[in-house]
């Protein structure tokens, strides 16, 4: 337990200590983001298709929200 606390203090200290001297820099540079820009990596590729799938689920499942699809919604009794 005491060793765990000591380890946490050491890690937290070194992380925050490092920040004071030099703020954390973005470690993935813009020229390294080619793969992330590929459509295969997109969170959503088609807004209509996402909305349809969301609607199909919304009217059948109790859960809702936090899908990342903006706005929308409809009355579905």
């Amino acid at each position: 337990m005491r060793a765990g606390v000591l380890l946490f203090v050491l890690i937290a200290g070194s992380v925050l200590g490092g920040c004071a001297i030099k703020p954390i820099e973005p470690w993935v540079k813009p020229y390294e983001r080619e793969r992330l820009a590929d459509p295969i990596m997109a969170f959503s590729r088609s807004s209509l298709a996402e909305r349809h799938r969301d609607h199909v689920r919304d009217v059948r499942e109790g859960a809702r929200g936090a899908t990342g699809v903006q706005g929308g919604g409809c009355g579905c009794n």
Partner: protein
């Protein structure tokens, strides 16, 4: 002294985050158009129709979008065939949106109207996304306000309303040149008529109109990771946890794999598992008189498993000018209910559903 030092260092860290975000500008969504035919069939219900979406930028500052969506529903679900007659109806949905970009921020305003013969829903939403930390992090905040008018066929004396408030916050973080993650949280509150004037509950075996609370409040959080696997392929995993004050708790777990075949074909496969517990006032056949009672399957204990596939083909392409893709997707879903009895057979209810999408998408 130590505490002051801590805050100073934390301030330096956050200051660093903000400072490096200043140099990069957010891109406005590109001009695009989509035309889709969608279809759902399962459990005696079919819903299909066309959907259209057009997006066009104006003066490189604002991107305007408009969409039209039709659901032609034919309903002979278990609820309908055991208590009423099958019916057909049509739902039309219209949406307008405007995206505005200023430096590292994107502001999106949306309007949405959905209309069917006995239900009209209006929504407006505002979302703000801010890129920071050299474009590695983006933070979003959003709000939707909705108001519905609820009616009932052949019962002009029935008229009620429902209002909805949705608040969401999201974070997207680039982890490495190949991995990106997101976290989303959304709180939704409802007030008004939150059931169906047609639905029947069972109390001591007798059919009675359902009685739902007039307020509901829910929370959901989702985590997602996308990864590039290095051979023209990628994967994603996501998990959502949902809970509300009707005592429903739900878990959603989804995984997917995507792969290019040549430079024109892209295929996706996904598997989704969903599970929820029932609402406090849900009962298959209530054995006590309570203030609220419902036999709405959506509020029951059930799970579903969905297996989906999608194929995209780049039909026409002129680099830097336009691109036209043909897409098809299909998902098979199996629903299995634990505490909803098929009163025709006396056994637990379950059904299979097919979800199909065929669409053309173009960027120009």
């Amino acid at each position: 002294m130590a505490a002051t030092d801590f805050w100073r260092r934390l301030g330096a860290f956050l200051g660093g985050l903000l400072a490096v975000g200043g140099a990069r500008a957010v891109d406005l969504p590109g001009d695009s158009a989509e035309a889709m035919f969608h279809s759902y069939s399962g459990g005696g219900v079919t819903a299909n129709g066309p959907a259209l979406l057009v997006r066009k930028s104006v003066m490189d500052k604002v991107s305007l979008s408009a969409s039209y969506y039709v659901d032609a529903v034919s309903n002979a679900s278990i609820d309908v065939v055991t208590t009423a007659s099958p019916y057909k109806e049509r739902r039309n949905e219209y949406s307008l949106g405007a995206d505005y970009v200023y430096r590292d921020s994107q502001i999106t305003f949306g309007l949405n109207r959905s209309k069917e013969p006995d239900y009209t829903a209006n929504r407006y939403s505002l979302d703000i996304t801010q890129e920071t930390f050299g474009g590695m992090t983006s933070v979003s905040l959003g709000f939707t306000r909705g108001s519905d008018e609820v009616g009932k066929h052949y019962s002009p004396e029935f008229a009620d309303i429902a209002t909805h408030w949705q608040y969401r916050v999201g974070l997207t973080q680039i982890l490495t040149p190949r991995w990106i993650a997101s976290a989303n949280f959304e709180a939704i509150s409802d007030d008004g008529y939150l059931g169906s004037p047609y639905r029947i509950a069972r109390v001591f075996g007798a059919a009675v109109p359902e009685r739902n609370p007039r307020t509901r409040s829910s929370r959901a959080m989702k985590f997602r990771v996308n990864g590039d696997l290095g051979s023209h392929d990628a994967m994603h995993v996501e998990y959502r946890y949902f809970w509300d004050n009707w005592a429903i708790k739900a878990h959603t777990l989804e995984g997917g794999y995507s792969r290019y075949f040549g430079d024109r074909w892209l295929a996706d496969a996904s598997l989704r598992y969903y599970r929820q517990g029932h609402a406090l006032f849900y009962s298959d056949n209530a054995q006590a008189e309570t203030t609220y009672v419902s036999r709405n399957r959506q509020l029951s204990t059930f799970d579903s498993i969905g297996l989906g596939g999608k194929v995209s083909y780049t039909w026409r392409k002129e680099p830097g000018k336009y691109e036209v893709k043909l897409n098809g997707s299909y998902e098979f879903v199996r629903f299995k209910y634990s505490d909803f009895t098929d009163i025709r057979t006396g056994s637990a209810y379950g059904f299979n559903a097919n979800v199909l999408q065929l669409y053309v998408s173009a960027t120009f």
